[in-house]
């Protein structure tokens, strides 16, 4: 096995749209796509396994073991549009693997009549902002104009690392329309280097994406996640402020400084 798509259910779409959100900075892509899958009740139709995923398994809360994998979910929305969502627990760890998996999924979707690809990713910034802006890049000027009409700004230049970006480059190579939406985030990380999820950024990206798709999605659960995350970040900021105050008032130095 290099990489394989294990098809769970065959589909026969007419005009297929593929939406990709794999785990990356602040989990914005994954969080957005998992949310749409849940809200639109998309059904699982495929699993992707690859030797390029990180080499370990996860034992879940319920005791079941799971290989690292990507998943394909499918829904035909109320307007008759066929949508396949690509998400999962990991991205391939090497460029070779990222190319292989992304190309495999794109080729599979093209065979099914793919017309357009969207991906959702993060734009990590130090800039202060009230609400995260959403930037867009696309494979053609008319698509960028469409993105602007849905409230996105055009990303003038930059790099989109990982499969959420690669899928755009490969879509262009294969002559498929593609739009990547990048939501601003500070990209906070835990002390062990893991990204903290940013539901506020995901919500901003979803706001643009759902306009593109012409669908309405209940955002109540996402709003709850935003509130929980705001609370957690406020607590962390308060702890940081207290430590800083104690240090400056008493002339103490943190214990790890020797």
């Amino acid at each position: 096995m290099n990489s394989e798509i294990k098809v769970i259910k065959q589909i026969a779409p007419t005009d297929l749209v593929l939406i990709c959100g794999l785990p990356g900075a602040a989990y914005i892509g994954k969080l957005s796509i998992d949310y749409l899958v849940q809200q639109l009740k998309a059904e699982p139709i495929g699993e992707i396994y690859s030797r390029f995923f990180p080499p370990y398994v996860i034992i879940k809360e319920d005791g079941l073991v799971e290989l690292m994998r990507n998943e394909l979910h499918y829904v035909r929305d109320a307007t008759g549009k066929d949508i396949v969502f690509l998400s999962g627990s990991a991205q391939a760890f090497s460029p070779e693997g990222q190319y292989e998996i992304t190309e495999k999924v794109l080729d599979w979707a093209i065979e099914k009549g793919l017309k357009r690809v969207y991906s959702v990713a993060a734009l990590v910034t130090d800039r202060d902002f009230e609400a995260p802006n959403v930037f867009a890049t696309a494979t053609s000027t008319p698509l960028l104009e469409e993105a602007k009409s849905h409230g996105a700004q055009v990303l003038d230049h930059g790099i989109i690392g990982g499969e959420n970006g690669l899928i755009m480059g490969l879509a262009r190579k294969k002559g498929i329309d593609g739009i990547c939406l990048l939501a601003e985030t500070h990209g906070y990380q835990t002390p062990t280097g893991e990204y903290v999820i940013d539901p506020r950024a995901s919500k901003a990206a979803l706001n643009v994406l759902t306009q593109f798709l012409g669908i309405k999605v209940d955002m109540e659960l996402m709003d709850k996640q935003v509130a929980q995350m705001d609370e957690a970040i406020a607590k962390m900021a308060e702890i940081e402020r207290r430590v800083r105050d104690e240090m400056t008032q008493s002339g103490k130095r943190p214990s790890y400084v020797t």
């Binding site: 096995m1 030797r51 080499p55 398994v57 034992i59 879940k60 809360e61 290989l67």
Partner: protein
């Protein structure tokens, strides 16, 4: 699937009826490997195959060996045992009497993790294996055994028949983890027994005979491996 990176030498393979595979490797405190070694002796199982791979290093650059890293492939070389030299290998033993296949694992480097695990699972499927028990350790002060599985029924069975519940969640690295994970892709029902062991920080592979003894005792009850 087999390619030039992995090759299997097959010896005398007995006919086995619905064989169960027991898998262990030198993971946390070598519990899995000790269990396999002990049960191979106990059941007088014979060597039926060796699996070799260009991804099995003789010297690891990572500590412990199962913490594979993409930029630390290790060094190829030979292994000498009882005066005989051979390449690093995964070994398969079988007991026709108990219809069991034992897999003594060996940790591949980062590049070969999936490839080796897949070849192991494919070989077991070729031998007719439909059930697998993986044995490993998990860090705790409690001297207990907990389980995980690739299907809900096996978890339920372990609870009702052997009073073994859940207790570990999180990542499972190395040879045994991936073999456990890939079993489902070949239609093999798999359970993993995690024997609690107190990690020795200086050497995470320092053998824990007591914990492996607990696992052997449980496996004897589960699979009736004693006459």
């Amino acid at each position: 699937m087999q390619n030039e990176d992995v090759w299997i030498k097959r010896y005398q393979i007995p006919t086995l009826k619905n064989p169960v595979a027991i898998v262990g490797s030198p993971g946390l405190r070598s519990i899995g490997k000790l269990v396999v070694d002990n049960l191979v002796d106990q059941t007088k199982a014979t060597l039926v195959a060796d699996l070799y791979s260009t991804h099995l290093p003789s010297i690891y650059e990572t500590q412990p060996s199962y913490a594979a890293h993409p930029s630390m492939p290790g060094e190829a070389g030979a292994v000498v045992e009882s005066g005989k030299v051979d390449l690093p290998k995964v070994q398969f033993y079988a007991s026709a009497e108990f219809s069991v296949i034992f897999v003594r694992g060996y940790h591949p480097n980062f590049e070969g993790q999936y490839l080796v695990a897949q070849n192991v699972v494919d070989f077991l499927a070729e031998m007719g294996v439909q059930r697998m028990v993986v044995v490993a350790g998990f860090g705790t002060k409690d001297k207990k055994i907990v389980c995980a599985a690739n299907n809900p029924k096996s978890i339920e069975d372990m609870k009702t028949r052997f009073d073994v519940g859940l207790g570990y969640k999180g990542p499972f690295m190395g040879f045994s983890g991936l073999v456990f994970g890939m079993a489902k892709l070949r239609g093999i029902e798999a359970v993993c027994l995690f024997a609690g062991t107190e990690p020795v920080e200086e050497n995470l592979e320092f053998p824990d005979a007591e914990a492996s003894g607990r696992a052997v005792e449980l496996l004897n009850r589960m699979l009736s491996l004693k006459k």
